[in-house]
């Protein structure tokens, strides 16, 4: 880890599904984790709305972590990403779920994806939405 754990440190579960906002969420989560001494787990999933590929996402996540010189666990989740994120956070004692969502159309309207919606409505932990 880049910094010592302290009273504010959290176990953070970050979902990355390959959207631009999910990579932005990765950058911001690394920054905060370094400051606060958070323990970060990155959960990679295939976002059907994005037509992304788990391997490519993992590679980009790894490169980002390497560049930031920050260590985090990476794992893949299968099945419905929203419900799996909620399950993992609950059963493994994470303090917070972080997700990037809320892309803007060209016209400027913010649209929340179905995965983010599910997590916001069903998580037992606090959720940080990066948008």
């Amino acid at each position: 880890m880049g910094s010592a754990r302290n009273a504010l440190s959290m176990h953070v579960l970050l979902g990355v599904g390959g959207s631009e906002l999910s990579y932005q969420a990765l950058d911001e989560t690394i920054d905060r984790a370094r400051e606060a001494g958070d323990d970060l787990t990155v959960a990679v999933f295939n976002n059907e709305e994005m037509d992304t590929d788990g391997k490519a996402i993992e590679q980009r996540v790894r490169e980002t972590l390497d560049e930031a010189k920050f260590e985090a666990a990476i794992r893949h989740i299968d099945g419905d990403p929203g419900s799996r994120l909620v399950d993992i956070a609950e059963s493994e004692g994470f303090d917070r779920i972080v997700l990037g969502s809320g892309e803007r159309s060209t016209l400027g309207k913010i649209q929340l994806g179905s995965i983010a919606e599910f997590v916001l409505l069903n998580a037992q932990t606090p959720v940080t939405l990066i948008r």
Binding site: S105, T106, L107, G108, Q111, S114
Partner: protein, 174 residues
Amino acid sequence: MIRHYPDEPAGPFPAPPRQQSDREERSIQFRRADVTDRTALIEMYTQFDPADRAQGIPPARETAIERWLETILDDDCFNVVASHDGDLVGHATLVPDEQDGYELAIFVLSAYQGAGIGTELVETLLGLGQSEGIDRVWLTVERWNDPAIALYRKVGFETANSERFELEMSIRLA
């Protein structure tokens, strides 16, 4: 992402310019707008009731409004405004997506809502779209926004996707 559209075209819709009396007997002009209306639109949007914002637009701060208008007043977009006594009271826009469709949005100042202006604005914009050869239009609307959903349905929009936070509706023009 694949967007769904109704099989049958709706319309025909009336093209601008038009003049109509609203339900409060106000004479409302509907006409095509472009980048020369920028200043008047900024003025309208700075008066916009924050409670009437939807999904992040119109933006709140004037600099953000200016940036947003730059996008939607671009040459590849189509815009119609409603005016009363020379002041803009409503605006509707069509912005191209990446799949030959157009996204629609509409805004009416609160003092002019509930008088039928929104319906006329949408119909006039779709009329402009038809005359410009646009055949597919979609929009998203917050699921709890019953007046807006009723308006879009009346005009001919159908539900395209109801599985997301926002309801997606679409219409075929040709």
